[in-house]
Symmetry: C2
Subunit: 334 residues, 2 copies
């Protein structure tokens, strides 16, 4: 039994709750930064297909799971992953507490400004730098460190805050999918605790929908107060085969749409499109050396080689950034 008063309360509640969203009727215009073309068209057609009631391809809202890679898909990843730049900044900040670093690689080279020298040992160097800067503190302390850095740090070439180096067309896409009943998740090779402090504000993706790589944590009672302490030990590397595994373990449903930009996303796109019913897979192809960066098959960072072949073979959507996007970053809109 719905009384008049309850009905009225519901209406007001609903208006407040949906005021910031957009109605389905406005959806097509909401991809305003996308040039008309095959990529934009494929997105709109897919969304129309799965949301059409009564159609055999209709997908109930609960199953409209969309997964997005982060580095190179939602924000830039050049000249190197932003989390690596964060780690380099942390080495500098922590150096006074570590006098031994001035004679110890990879820190010594790094502190002299020689990033290339510091990276001489490849992944080994990266892991040492990550563990030295990402572990040893409580989870609450690390959240503060990330929040402070993201609020103040600037990208080395654009001099913009990192959170402004997100792709405007992808922000619109996230909104568009959510307006059509999708639940949007991030599934990134980046650290889960590096993304969560700002993902809700920047992408509208709440912490519980952010999946990523992680290090182990330990539960401890400090004077009766429980804390979680970050340990210098990898828990999970959310890349390649790791992505479908993490999706399965943490979401427990197969996505119907997946968005990536590199070979590290290939298994996620394969896993998504192997499900029954309508599926959508999209690669962002970095083709714009002028407004962003151009790289693909031979890049160290965000290599797109096997993925590009498979996308062509399987008819997945490939976004040509130069052709398909009116603007790259939100600050270009003005």
């Amino acid at each position: 039994m719905i009384t008049k008063r309850v009905l009225f309360t519901k209406l007001i509640f609903c208006l407040v709750m949906t005021g910031g969203g957009m109605a389905a009727a406005q959806a097509a215009d909401s991809l305003a930064s996308w040039n008309d073309g095959k990529a934009k068209q494929s997105i709109i057609e897919f969304v129309a297909t799965v949301t059409k009631k009564g159609s055999p391809n209709f997908v109930p809202p609960a199953e409209r799971i969309a997964v997005f890679d982060n580095d190179g898909t939602l924000w830039a990843e050049q000249p190197m992953y932003f989390q690596v730049l964060f780690a380099l900044d942390r080495v500098k900040a922590l150096a006074p507490q570590h006098p031994e670093w001035k004679d110890k690689e990879p820190f010594a080279s790094l502190l002299k400004g020689d990033v290339k020298g510091a990276m001489a040992d490849g992944m080994k160097s990266v892991v040492e730098i990550i563990m030295a800067t990402h572990a040893g503190m409580t989870t609450a302390e690390f959240e503060t460190i990330v929040s402070d850095w993201i609020a103040t740090a600037r990208h080395p070439t654009t001099k913009r805050p990192y959170t402004e180096m997100v792709y405007q067309p992808m922000l619109e896409l996230l909104d568009y999918l959510r307006a059509n009943g999708f639940k949007t998740f991030i599934v990134s090779g980046g650290g889960i605790e590096f993304m969560r402090p700002w993902s809700e504000k920047v992408y509208g993706v709440p912490p519980e929908q952010v999946i990523g790589s992680s290090i182990k944590v330990k539960f401890d009672l400090r004077e009766g107060t429980p804390v979680l302490v970050r340990l210098p030990e990898l828990d999970f590397f959310d890349d390649k085969e790791g992505k479908p595994i993490a999706i399965h373990q943490q979401i427990g449903r197969r996505p119907i749409a997946a968005f990536g930009n590199s070979d590290g996303d290939l298994q996620m796109l394969q896993w998504t499109t192997a499900g029954q019913g309508p599926r959508f897979a999209l690669y962002v192809h970095h083709t714009d050396a002028e407004r962003e960066w151009a790289y693909d098959r031979k890049s160290g960072m965000g290599r797109l080689d096997k993925g590009l072949d498979e996308a062509q073979a399987k008819g997945w959507t490939v976004v040509d950034m130069k052709q398909d996007w009116k603007v790259i970053y939100p600050f270009e809109k003005q």
Copy 2:
């Protein structure tokens, strides 16, 4: 700009979407299976506190995270965890494919109907039985096995389907919290893939809000089709210290309310209540030998000892099932 037509669409959409829920004004009555008393009162007061706009204790909906243990908190756990009963049934079903089991413990005793003998080696026996019955198949195959079992298996003493042995007052509590903007999660020591196939239907908790213990899975391409294969290796044991760790890794926000029934939930309740602002912790105390089971400090299954002391010391809510619940199971309502 909201046009009249868009406004109308929103109203209709909202009515449809909230038709099955309940308005806050009706909330108190929605705990109909709870006797009036301290436990019910404490729940209502907490919800009123965190939802009161303008109050310093107001908590925004996005932060209203509530976590529930499953075994002994949302459904029964006697004479032993239902997942163990599932495993025992699976041993019988798989026996024809494993002739070697008739000479190999713990399977030999089990197949003779001697459960106690099969459990002679304690956890070692349990792990052997779990791995033999929970691994070796794809995740899709396992989902089918669980779905088939939960639809047909019956509890050894009540002869009811297991999904009817859920606690009616807790179902009402889940609904009540969601009607007040809470996001409800399960955080169980039980297997995540044992719960997900039915958690949405039975508890209204979608798979992506179910956290539990897990075994490792491997990504594989079978004739070009990706599958995830379940491996006989523990990935994560979601009990005791594991619960706050899993909450942190998978939700990324500290809950404001936590519900459990055993010492295995203690760290989750400690972690929840250690946050700033209003917090709520509740223990279900099994005190009703007639309608359910009575057990606490000395029980092997669901022991509540340290937790009971801490609840009393800290003023957490302790539900006396015999006193506080009008009915235990949904089928008693008629």
